[in-house]
């Protein structure tokens, strides 16, 4: 086996050791809890890596799926706390103390897990089908997905009686029977989050090596060309988008017991773009980049905002500008360059302006064609 093939697994093992052995040994309960939270973001980031890095779809609205998972979990936890037939505390406070019908099924933990896994797939599937089959892509797709995240957050805020509104849902006592105040259980949650993160990276490694992974890159670099090879690129993109949505949902679901709260602020436009920061930093198209980047950004945000309150905006802004401008391949690009096997990616390196501008700046065939005809 060549060094190049091996290196992702070496990286994975290092990450596994750091997360499962090192971190629990050296971090305080509080810091470990924060790391658990970053792991949740990282799980969503792994999916973004697939959709954005490998698939070229700038998913600006992953907060929508993060939110679906988070709210499904939060609703279940609130109902479980309330006990059989009970009413969650906030409903008594803001509403008429009855549980709405669409909450009821979530009393079952198993059903909640099914919702967390299936609902984002359904939503992403339907949306993706509509969008990709209509060949809506590039900036249009990005803006649409962002608008959906915005709409979702507004919707949540407006439904005070059933979603807690801007307050969101919080004050959870237990997690599937385990008390959340107990530090031992919080550690368990950390291990679950870190474990799922590592497993999802492995799953990604498999996907990247599969024919699907190759096809996805082909779709990213030449969507139309793939069409003429007999494959509808919409289906390929759809699959990647659905997987990314499910991962975001899992991250969101774990986020709830770990952070102890979910609010519309965690799912809106700003939160959605925040998820991208780590992916960009780590390297969107690399295997470990998105996860490691998300962990780094989470850590940086916490420590910078502790050291210099109010300055995080500057740092996040600068991060976006510098990384995307100068290091589009993220930190992974640096590593690759050092090892001398830099992938010459047209996607990242850029192509002559005219070409890409047209590919990304779509005009209808009917408009473009006369110019073509005239130029012939």
């Amino acid at each position: 086996m060549s060094m190049k093939k091996l290196s992702p697994y070496v990286g994975w093992l290092l990450l596994a050791v750091a997360l499962l052995v090192l971190a629990p040994a050296v971090l305080s309960d509080f810091r470990l809890g924060l790391l658990a939270k970053y792991c949740c973001y990282a799980i969503a980031a792994v999916g973004i890596g697939l959709a954005w890095g490998r698939g070229g779809m700038l998913v600006l609205g992953q907060g929508l799926y993060f939110g679906i998972g988070a709210y499904a979990m939060a609703m279940h936890l609130k109902l479980a706390d309330a006990g059989p037939g009970g009413v969650p505390d906030f409903m008594a406070l803001y509403g008429d103390a009855t549980v709405p019908g669409w909450w009821e099924p979530l009393r079952s933990g198993a059903f909640a897990v099914v919702v967390i896994l299936v609902l984002p797939a359904l939503v992403a599937g339907l949306l993706g089908l509509a969008v990709f089959k209509r060949r809506i892509k590039g900036a249009y797709f990005a803006i649409l997905s962002q608008a959906l995240a915005a709409a979702f957050a507004i919707l949540l805020v407006g439904q005070v009686k059933t979603t807690g509104g801007a307050n969101g849902l919080n004050n959870f006592q237990g997690f599937f029977g385990y008390a959340l105040f107990d530090p031992a259980n919080k550690r368990m949650l950390y291990f679950i989050a870190a474990g799922i993160l590592l497993v999802s990276i492995l799953a990604m490694a498999w996907l990247y090596r599969s024919r699907f992974g190759e096809l996805l890159v082909a779709v990213r670099d030449g969507e139309e060309r793939v069409r003429f090879l007999g494959t509808d690129p919409a289906n390929v993109k759809l699959a990647a988008y659905v997987i990314a949505a499910v991962l975001a949902s899992i991250g969101g679901a774990l986020f709830v017991p770990i952070a102890g709260i979910v609010s519309p602020d965690d799912v809106g436009v700003v939160a959605s773009i925040g998820l991208l920061a780590g992916v960009a930093l780590g390297g969107r198209a690399s295997l470990l980049g998105p996860a490691v980047g998300a962990l780094l950004v989470g850590y940086a945000e916490t420590s910078l905002s502790e050291a210099f309150p109010g300055s995080w905006s500057y740092f996040q802004g600068a991060l976006f500008v510098l990384v995307i401008l100068l290091l589009p391949g993220g930190l992974a690009q640096l590593l690759n360059a050092r090892r001398g096997n830099s992938v010459s990616s047209r996607f990242l390196r850029g192509v002559p302006r005219g070409k890409q501008a047209q590919a990304e700046l779509p005009r209808s065939a009917s408009e473009a064609a006369p110019e073509e005809a005239a130029a012939r």
Partner: protein, 241 residues
């Protein structure tokens, strides 16, 4: 399998690019499509592969190509290449061909990694002479090699109709010769249609030549017949000379 085009018209915002073209494209022959700039050659291929909307009929294996989406046309066995060779530059030659070969694979097998080169892919790499370069990213290939790779992609798909848009443009004389030979080798049993400007090349390899001008077929026949055609001479002299 014969591809029959009947009264094909393509219009863009009032500009008529193809104006009632009827053609019969039969297998086993190297069919060349020539004509001055703007004659509608590429548009014709676009219309047959679902890239441009056309009216009329293009019948192939009982289906009307004009009513099908691009990927379905490909799955029916009608493949094309592009004037500017369009390959996946970041993927290797092998991966490029393997993706093209995907047409014949069951969907679920997408989830499995590829192991080595599938037999058909290896065979085609040999045919188009790219075996040595199998693991190189397609982006580093020369212009000619990219064109061969594109033709190879059609071959692994077993396309029975191949529409090639200026495959030898920008090639050296030697590469042209090789490409011509390659086209000869693959034409038996298939319909190969080549858009070309270079008359020497056309003369050397064409079985049938169709001349397009201003969206209409103005002549059809062997290369020699075409050369003698008064209307063709007028068009070419009027445009080029």
């Amino acid at each position: 399998m014969t591809l029959t085009v009947n009264d094909l018209r393509v219009e863009f915002d009032g500009f008529v690019a193809i104006d009632g073209v009827s053609l019969t494209l039969e297998p086993g022959r190297l069919h060349f499509l020539i004509g001055p700039n703007g004659a509608g050659k590429t548009t014709l291929v676009d219309a047959l592969t679902g890239l441009a909307k056309g009216s009329g009929e293009a019948r192939y294996r009982t289906r009307d190509l004009l009513a099908l989406a691009s990927h379905r046309i490909t799955r029916l066995g009608v493949g094309r290449t592009f004037q500017t060779a369009t390959v996946f530059e970041e993927l290797s030659v092998l991966q490029n061909l393997d993706i093209a070969a995907g047409v014949h694979r069951a969907r679920w097998r997408l989830m499995l990694p590829r192991r080595g080169a599938p037999e058909r892919v290896a065979e085609v790499m040999e045919t188009v002479g790219l075996t040595e370069l199998a693991d190189r990213p397609a982006g580093v290939l020369s212009h000619g090699q990219k064109q061969w790779l594109e033709i190879g992609m059609l071959l692994v798909q077993d396309s029975s109709v191949m529409l090639l848009d200026e495959p030898v443009a920008g090639m050296s004389a030697e590469e042209r010769e090789e490409t011509g030979e390659l086209l000869r080798r693959i034409s038996p049993g298939r319909t190969v249609v080549v858009i070309e400007h270079d008359m020497d090349f056309v003369r050397r390899f064409a079985d049938v030549v169709t001349v397009l001008h201003a969206g209409k077929v103005i002549a059809e026949g062997t290369a020699a017949e075409i050369r003698e055609d008064a209307q063709v001479q007028l068009v070419y002299l009027g445009e080029d000379a």
